[in-house]
């Protein structure tokens, strides 16, 4: 995974609440056996609406998506994170995420930034003007050219994974002895497992 330290650029002022992963990528795109190319199906239903932000040339190619509460709820499909990545999104800013989605985002180098609704409202306005937004993992801040500065918190392990592009599976495999020891202990105590 490519390390990500700072994401700066146009932010797409989407803003909706309870955006489920069926909206991010509908089920008929899940028949793929590859991770790539899903951007073409991203937000398919929303893109049928006139004046939607995803087809607005002002926000074309923006690497940041601003959304409302409970972003990425519903299905566990990692295809949602793959689709966002494929359309060039490197950070999402929202008041909250579904637990599964935020995990999937991190594993694909997309920063799930949590900020309160007041900050979201302000950033939506800045984004609507076409002004760039900066997400910085070093300082854990979101800033704008208007001197707005919002601090956010992110789980330290997730931050580490994002900033160093860590391979979690490789990290865990390095603990193979601890896993084997656990298996031996449980095999003795709870053989039915």
């Amino acid at each position: 995974m490519k390390p990500v330290v700072q994401v700066k650029g146009v932010a797409i002022p989407f803003g909706r609440k309870n955006v489920d992963t069926d909206v991010i990528i509908p089920a008929h795109y899940l028949k793929t056996i590859s991770r790539s190319g899903l951007g073409r199906g991203a937000f398919e239903v929303v893109r049928r609406e006139p004046d939607n932000v995803f087809d607005d040339p002002r926000y074309a190619g923006g690497p940041i998506l601003i959304a409302g509460d409970n972003f990425g709820c519903g299905s566990s499909r990692e295809h949602a994170a793959w689709a966002l990545g494929d359309m060039g999104i490197q950070a999402v800013i929202a008041p909250s995420y579904s637990d599964i989605f935020s995990g999937n985002a991190v594993k694909n180098g997309i920063v799930p930034v949590v900020l309160p609704q007041e900050a979201i409202d302000r950033l939506m306005a800045v984004a609507a003007e076409g002004q760039p937004v900066t997400v910085d993992l070093e300082t854990c801040t979101v800033t704008t050219p208007y001197q707005d500065r919002y601090s956010f918190t992110i789980d330290p392990f997730r931050r580490d994974c994002l900033m160093h592009g860590l391979d979690e599976i490789g990290l865990t495999m390095a603990q193979g002895d601890a896993i084997s020891a656990y298996e031996a202990k449980i095999g003795a105590e709870r053989g039915w497992v």
Partner: protein, 479 residues
């Protein structure tokens, strides 16, 4: 005396392999269910990195999402081809990836095939006190048996295949207690819809819900599976029920459950898992069973719940301005006007199935309403899709298939089907479906499909009346 612990804390603590300095824990995974949609990229990832599956013996693979629910073999028993090339490729990938890795694979034409979340408990693969994962959010279902069960993404599927562990942050514990007596015609589906309506689609985010109170203690395992299944619809990481004698009676003798001395040893441990008196939850919600009516959804989020006796809400009745806008958008999509009585809404499609409501008790409840009646002429299509081949066989032994077919339903082969419309079973654009599934999202049952989530009995009532209906009116007075 050790500190009192919750059921969640006990299962979590029993599975910690290691804890990092930053608090992230390496958690051992006892059971891994694999299906065809979220696994091909994981197997591909393993191959690319030269890694192997650590514990194929703790893994069970079964196809469900893509499979057509029409006949899978011809009159001579030969396998029929799958028309959709992409679906066929995905199914073929699982059929080759799983056995190649030494993973037990239940074939599409086997009697044991079904929806992963129906198959796991049915086979006794899911056990109390275990950690259960699957690349599917409705893995929360298995919490009904007292397993810590949750959905994961494909990167995590790969992680579990390679290491049999996951790197996780501990969630908070939330208690949802329902005490009292459920009203006539109120089913486990109504209970969970009511809970989600009350706490919201993000009400459980960051939490593992434990369902407590006499309503759940007295509920069958199948009812508990329906409730735990939709924990994810309230945003919860998982849903849990304390394993008890009802759980043990359900599991005893299942093909993959322990037997003999191992069974006794297991039960003794399972009995220690219930939350200790005095253990603290981070959040508590208390609901009186008497306030729960047969319920259904009106909008495009599972939190949009109303009693069947209610009306379509006015978007302006919501305090939150963003919810007002969302509600209006939902009503536009659903083709509904505020103030309309829910019972006046005509339906075009009926779907009885999905990991939420496709087990034998669900089919019995629906058949009880259908028996002696006929699907309304105005209904375009009514499907019954059993959750597994074994459920189907049991229903046929009880004559339920005849009840449905004679009433005008189609009796299909098991799979996820019209819950998410990845296979050919779709709700046509603009049509309205009374569905026993779990998600009423925009486009979930097919592009432009309009979904009302209901219980099996309420889906049957809608089928025979042609509109959303109060099942109590068809059941007569309480016995």
């Amino acid at each position: 005396m050790t500190e009192p612990k919750t059921l969640y804390a006990k299962i979590w603590d029993a599975h910690v392999v290691d804890t990092r300095a930053d608090g992230t824990a390496l958690i051992y995974i006892d059971r891994h269910l694999v299906h065809e949609v979220t696994s091909p990229q994981a197997f591909e990832g393993l191959r690319a990195a030269g890694r192997t599956v650590r514990r194929p013996d703790l893994t069970l693979a079964v196809p469900d999402h893509n499979l057509p629910t029409t006949a899978r073999t011809d009159a001579k028993g030969a396998r029929l081809p799958i028309a959709d090339a992409e679906s066929a490729a995905q199914l073929a990938a699982l059929a080759s990836n799983a056995p190649a890795a030494g993973i037990r694979y239940i074939d599409a034409v086997a009697a044991e095939q079904g929806i992963v979340h129906v198959v796991g408990p049915e086979q006794g693969f899911t056990l109390p006190g275990t950690t259960v994962v699957c690349g599917d959010s409705h893995t929360s279902s298995h919490g009904a048996l007292g397993a810590l069960a949750f959905g994961i993404g494909t990167s995590e599927v790969e992680h579990v295949l390679a290491t049999q562990t996951l790197l996780l942050q501990r969630a908070k514990a939330m208690e949802v207690r329902v005490d009292g007596v459920l009203g006539h015609g109120v089913t486990p589906k109504d209970v969970i819809l009511h809970i989600i309506g009350r706490i919201g689609a993000a009400g459980g985010t960051g939490h593992v819900i434990e369902y407590t109170g006499n309503v759940f203690r007295e509920m069958s395992v199948e009812g508990r599976l329906t409730v735990a299944n939709m924990s994810i619809e309230a945003g919860a990481r998982a849903g849990l029920m304390a394993p008890d004698d009802i759980t043990f009676a359900y599991l005893k003798g299942r093909p993959m459950a322990p037997a003999g001395a191992e069974w006794d040893k297991a039960v003794a441990w399972w009995r220690t898992l219930a939350t200790d008196p005095g253990a603290a939850y981070d959040k508590v919600v208390v609901i009186d069973a008497a306030e729960i009516a047969p319920s259904l959804t009106w909008g495009t989020s599972p939190e949009d719940v109303v009693a069947i006796t209610g009306v379509v809400p006015d978007p302006m009745s919501f305090a939150d301005p963003s919810k007002q806008a969302a509600a209006q958008k939902s009503l536009d999509y659903m083709g509904l006007a505020a103030g309309t009585r829910m019972q006046d809404v005509a339906v075009d499609m009926i779907f009885i199935g999905s990991c939420t409501n496709s087990r034998i008790e669900d089919l019995r409840a629906a058949a009880d309403v259908v028996r002696g009646r006929h699907v309304a002429d105005t209904v375009h299509q009514a499907l019954v899709v059993p959750g597994s081949g074994l459920v189907k066989r049991q229903a046929e032994a009880e004559g339920l298939d005849r009840v449905f077919v004679e009433a005008g339903f189609e009796w299909r082969e098991p799979g996820c089907s019209m819950c998410l419309a990845m296979n050919p079973d779709k709700v046509p654009p603009g049509m309205r479906c009374a569905s026993t599934s779990n998600r009423n999202f925009v486009g979930r049952q097919g592009p432009g499909a309009r979904t009302h989530l209901v219980s099996p009995a309420m889906a049957a009532a809608a089928a025979v009346t042609g509109h959303l209906a109060d099942v109590r009116d068809l059941m007569g007075a309480a016995a």
